[in-house]
Amino acid sequence: MTPEKFRAMVSTVLIVGVAISAALIGVGFVGALAVGWHGSLVGGAASSGATTDFSNLPGRLATLEPAAISQLGLATLLATPVARVAASVAGFALERDRLYATITLAVLLILLTSIFVLR
């Protein structure tokens, strides 16, 4: 893989992550102006509970609740840097740069540990 392609790949991962999250957050935000954060864009019953609760997202997404749509977008945004590091591991490996593939893999493992273990 050439350095140019590597850069293009990492850049694409970031753009796609940002675009998907901006679209979801935006739809949720505009939807909230129309039916409220806890309403339903398909005319379902309003949900209750805190908009800070990320645990029951699938059920609330099914009724197209604006808060849930924005939450999915926010979660996508927070995951984007992790996807970028994962893509960099592949990029350095394809560039046959063993030193930096190893360094980046170590960063990815530390990152995943801190997200899933230290909480």
Binding site: V18, S21, A32, T52, L74, L78, Y100, S114
Partner: protein, 281 residues
Amino acid sequence: MITPQADLGIFAISVAAGLIGALAGVGGGILVIPALTILFGVDIHLAIGASIVSVIATSSGAAAAYVRDRMTDMRVGMFLELATTTGAVCGALLASVVAPALLYVLLGLVLLGSAGMHVSRMGEETPPTDPPSELALRLRLTSSYPDRKLGREVPYSARRIPLGFALMWGAGMVSGLLGIGSGVLKVLAMDGAMRLPMKVSSATSNFMIGVTAAASAGIYLGRGDVDPQVAAPVALGVLAGALVGARLLHHISNRTVRLVFLPVLVVVGLETIARGLGFGI
């Protein structure tokens, strides 16, 4: 409950935070947190949750352009992320045993002190071009970036790599412990210690701060500190600002970037001291 008028205000301030953050290599939390708490009466925990979102939005939005345009040095970034992520884990583990008040004040004083150092380099456009060290060659931390303002390719190589790595470890530890100032410390370590060109320092810091923030994002989500009512307008505004800022960087000089960074440095220093003294901003 946040009114649509307040949403508009939060959005506007977030655009400014994203713009300045993209240029200066910082997350924009310095603008977002006090604006949310003081102007809009948002709870400090939700404001900090929104600031984590704003850091990742600035980082991902700006870095997408900086990586493609060869402003970000990905090897420097990945090498130093090894230091910041391990530092952040150590910081998070130490958080329960260290008294944060004193740390905030110390960090604030360090930042204000480095503002003096930063002023002394204010007129410098590109760093001196001494031959690269053995270690820089072995770690492949020598490169160049295209400077559209100067109209030429500017070569550089990382200096004082062990010092830079140690400072980055400290920066990671501080952000793990206090959740503040990690972008400012990264720019200072790359520009001040490792003598990378200012624009490369800023673009590479932008690339890195998202990863540092992502390491603790799960904790904030789980704690219920990320509320779309606050974070959605912040994320949308910051993304818009960061995309504009990333285009702007090409058209300004390294000196101008330093000029944007200086007030950020001073404000973060003062804010950090204020927090240590118990003012909730």
